[in-house]
Symmetry: C2
Subunit: 129 residues, 2 copies
Amino acid sequence: MSADITIPVGADPETAIGQLTFDAQGLLPAIVQQWDSREVLMLGWMDAEAVRRTMTEGRVTYWSRSRQEYWRKGDTSGHVQFVRALAYDCDGDTLLVEVDQHGAACHTGTRSCFDGRGLDVLAAPSPTP
Amino acid sequence: MSADITIPVGADPETAIGQLTFDAQGLLPAIVQQWDSREVLMLGWMDAEAVRRTMTEGRVTYWSRSRQEYWRKGDTSGHVQFVRALAYDCDGDTLLVEVDQHGAACHTGTRSCFDGRGLDVLAAPSPTP
């Protein structure tokens, strides 16, 4: 676990990016959630520049690990993600992006990348807290 | 992007794990969501054995990258995560775990690891689709 961080409220993008922890490839995972339904849509990867663009352009940009290039969601598919909110986690190595997703978030055509992809698990009933 | 995968409905844990894509460290990210409120609580990392335990024990187990050991959420904190559902994403390199989280998911005491950690962004109003 990295050390816990606190980024000042209202920090500019460079200050915020300077506090985040990127991995050995210079990337961190970004969880993408539909802002109103709270559905988890996908997970993408961002480097510092993708975070910078996402913070300042109102659209979500990722780094594509397979194509080794920036990828602004929707530019080819039309399935645009408009940024609503952004948060970092306690140790600054993961982002949560709330978006307004137009159309399918998944390139396979499903709304979310997890739709219809459930696995059987032992789901024990929770004891009363 | 890895190739898209389909895991047969009702697959046993070994079949499912065999289809997933783990990174160079043998890990994949697991997004954790409270099943009813749909709040995103945290992101953890799992190796094959952590996935196996999570699928079969009714409790969520991670691999701690800093401590290099398995970590069953709640064993020391009491803040247990009971497994409600599990899904993989289109290319099989990310998991979404729906849980019933007792207490705080974050070791800092906040309910989610993202609570109170918002960043200022340009949030353009979405055009009407």
